[in-house]
């Protein structure tokens, strides 16, 4: 399947662009017939994206989770897949534009930079690494979905509060559904990221006893704490609506900052010696 990789690298982001355009048409309420095409183009895009990932695995003999562009592509796929499952179960396409635009942005960012065939250290081919990264990425994708639904919640809340019955009022699902999606996605992300962190700890403890000083580990821990607090506040303190949404959006922004910072300042995803290095340079 290796020969189709370059084709799919171009085709998948193009298909995402088409999907976003179709969902935009649907959201704006124009060209209903054209909008209905979205129901066909989205699964086609998901199949193409899956083929791309399978072809990548076959060409590289590893899962595509060793570099940021690979991870972005997987997050894009999982987010779009999760949205598709929601759409199938609720029959509501009105939030598709927002979730799928997020997937499209990630995939566009990934396709331009991804190395189709890249050798990585044996360490990153370990199954434990696969479990760690897959669950962590599912967690991130779920947090992203939580934040997107949170944002939509805020838009609709604002229109309802101020009696401005605009497009969000007319198109989005009920406020309560958006709130539920926000919190349920956060819970899914929290559970998944917890497994990711724990499997990472077990794996890293054997190889890098100093893993506690890893900036990625520390920052992910902070993101986890933010979402854990949001979920706790919702279920135990009775937080509803805006406060919970603010927590999930903050957590998502923090997550974005962490990913960008890791990409900009560290050469690898984890840097187990960085704190010690910083301390030694300070001394």
């Amino acid at each position: 399947m290796e020969p189709i990789l370059p084709v799919l690298r171009c085709a998948v982001p193009t298909l995402y662009a088409l999907v976003v355009a179709l969902y935009a048409v649907l959201f704006l309420g124009r060209g209903r017939r054209l909008g209905r095409l979205a129901g066909t183009v989205l699964p086609t895009t998901l199949v193409a994206h899956l083929l791309f990932l399978v072809a990548f695995v076959e060409a590289n003999e590893r899962i595509p989770l060793a570099a940021l562009p690979e991870i972005l592509s997987v997050i894009a796929f999982m987010t779009a897949l999760a949205y598709y499952a929601v759409e199938r179960s609720t029959g509501n396409r009105s939030t598709g534009l927002f979730v799928l635009a997020f997937s499209a942005i990630l995939q566009w960012g990934s396709s331009g930079r991804i190395a189709l065939v890249q050798d990585v250290p044996e360490l990153l081919r370990n199954p434990a690494f696969g479990l760690h990264t897959a669950t962590a990425i599912l967690g991130y994708a779920a947090f992203a979905v939580s934040a997107i639904y949170g944002l939509l919640y805020l838009f609709l809340y604002q229109e309802l509060k101020t009696n401005r019955f605009g497009r969000f009022y007319r198109k989005l699902p009920p406020l309560e559904i958006l709130g539920k999606m926000n919190i349920r996605a956060a819970v899914l992300g929290l559970v998944s990221l917890t497994i990711g962190i724990l499997s990472g700890i077990v794996w890293a403890a054997r190889l890098h006893p100093g893993f506690l000083s890893d900036p990625m580990f520390l920052m992910t821990g902070v993101v986890w704490l933010v979402f854990a607090f949001g979920v706790f506040a919702h279920y135990r303190l009775g937080w509803r609506g805006k406060p919970t949404v603010y927590v999930s959006i903050s957590g998502f922004l923090l997550m974005g900052i962490v990913l960008v910072a890791v990409n900009l300042f560290l050469q690898t995803f984890h840097r187990f010696d960085v704190v010690a290095w910083n301390f030694s340079s300070l001394v």
């Binding site: 309420g29 209903r32 609709l156 309802l160 509060k161 009696n163 019955f165 009022y169 007319r170 699902p173 009920p174 406020l175 309560e176 559904i177 539920k180 009775g238 937080w239 509803r240 609506g241 805006k242």
Partner: protein, 426 residues
């Protein structure tokens, strides 16, 4: 021959006159079952609703439909309508079809986009069919009108959004909450407004109702109708804690619910959202209540604004509806034009000429040049002879009004004649 509609509606006649000449089902059936001999109307349909009474007719001669309508109104309603009365309108041929399609698509209604009119047109057509007053022409016309009605509802937003205060209140509940059967609605004030809003909430599936009223008997009565329970004003705070939706429609001189009461209720509900629909004038709920998080407070003005916005949005859809009407009208008249005897005779001649020419061509090799000319002349003569009698008979159909439609259609089918109605099966 003409297509005609004559009638009056909410724009041309006051309600007193509309009431006087409104036909109920039985009267409509009776009026259509007893055609007036010699009135020149071959197909007819009577559409009578609270906003219009219209008589659709396929007439042998101009203006005979108008006389027929006046006769019906005089006979059944004892009302003498002058032919040139300003309350009456009459549209012919293209305008008649446009008018019918506008009615079926609800853009001619008092409330643009209302859902009942298509059902009323359907019912009028069924009565006309049972009475034997509708023939093939009206079948085709009404089928097209129903298609227009369905298309405008599926292809435009003409029927989107609530257009009454009570239904707007229910719609708002649907924008905040998802599962209605688990919700409790608290109705404060069992008057007409509260009652209407409660019924709309029940229609969208709200599961439980609590009703409070100054006069306990009225609260009991409404609670009974809604399958809910009455509440004393003294127990209001407990009821508030339970309610996701609060409708207030009392005639109290000032607010009966304070922001502090509502804040306390929301806190007790662990911040679950509360929708408050204040339909009272003066208002029943302190305006500051809207500042409480997860409280959505709407007064009569904001609901009215929502209704007006929805109506405006519907009105903006009218050009799209008119485009649909225009396309269906073109399609209908393409079919209508093919019903003429002239086009049928032309098509039949062309059809037989094609057969003749192809047969002559097929056997051309068997004959010499001289014989070929004879064969041409012979075959042409044969076709003309065969066609002569049918042509004479076809021309006589024209004098039979809409009864000829079936015969002409049969001839077309017999010879598989195209009618140039390319999108027939769309």
């Amino acid at each position: 021959m003409e297509l005609l509609v004559v009638g009056l509606n909410h724009r041309t006649a006051p309600v007193e006159l509309r009431e006087r000449i409104a036909f109920n089902r039985e009267e409509t059936a009776a009026a259509l079952s007893e055609p007036v001999p010699g009135d020149g109307v071959t197909e007819r349909l009577l559409l009578s609703t609270c906003n219009r009474t219209e008589y659709y007719a396929f007439c042998q001669a101009a203006d005979c439909g108008l006389a027929s309508f006046r006769e019906l109104v005089g006979r059944f309603k004892n009302v003498a309508l002058a032919g040139d009365a300003p309350t009456l309108y009459a549209y012919r041929d293209q305008e008649m079809v446009t008018h019918l399609f506008r009615v079926a698509s609800s853009i001619d209604s008092l409330i643009v986009g209302e859902a009942q009119i298509l059902g009323q047109v359907h019912e009028a057509f069924e009565i006309a069919c049972r009475a034997g007053a509708s023939g093939p022409l009206f079948h085709r016309l009404l089928e097209t009108a129903f298609r227009v009605g369905k298309r405008v509802r599926s292809e435009t937003e003409i029927a989107i959004g609530a257009v009454s205060v009570a239904s707007a209140a229910a719609t708002l509940a649907g924008r905040v909450f998802s599962e209605m059967e688990d919700r409790t609605a608290l109705i404060l004030g069992a008057g007409e407004t509260g009652r209407l809003a409660a019924h709309h909430l029940r229609e969208i599936g709200v599961g439980r109702f609590r009703v409070a009223n100054r006069t306990r008997a009225r609260a009991d009565e409404l609670a009974d109708v809604l399958g809910g329970t009455p509440v004393d004003f003294g127990d209001l705070e407990a009821a508030l804690r339970e309610a996701s939706i609060v409708v207030t429609a009392t005639s109290a001189p000032g607010p009966i619910l304070s922001a502090a009461q509502i804040r306390a209720a929301v806190t007790a509900r662990r911040n679950r959202p509360v929708l408050i629909l204040d339909l009272g004038v003066p208002r029943d709920v302190e305006i500051a209540a809207n500042k409480v998080a997860n409280v959505f407070l709407y007064d009569i003005d904001s609901l009215q604004a929502l209704v007006e916005e929805n109506l405006q949005r519907r009105r903006k859809e009218i050009p799209k509806v008119e485009a649909i009407i225009e396309s269906e009208k073109t399609r209908f008249f393409r079919w209508y034009a093919s019903l003429g005897v002239g086009p049928l005779i032309r098509d039949l001649r062309e059809h037989l000429e094609r057969i003749r020419a192809s047969e002559v061509e097929r056997h051309a090799g068997r004959f010499g040049e001289e014989d070929r000319e004879r064969i041409e002349a012979l075959s042409r003569g044969l076709v003309n002879k065969i066609l002569h009698e049918p042509m004479v008979n076809l021309r006589s159909f024209q004098r039979e009004g809409s009864g000829s439609v079936v015969r002409l259609e049969t001839v077309r089918r017999l010879f598989s004649l195209e009618r140039g109605d390319a999108d027939e099966n769309d």
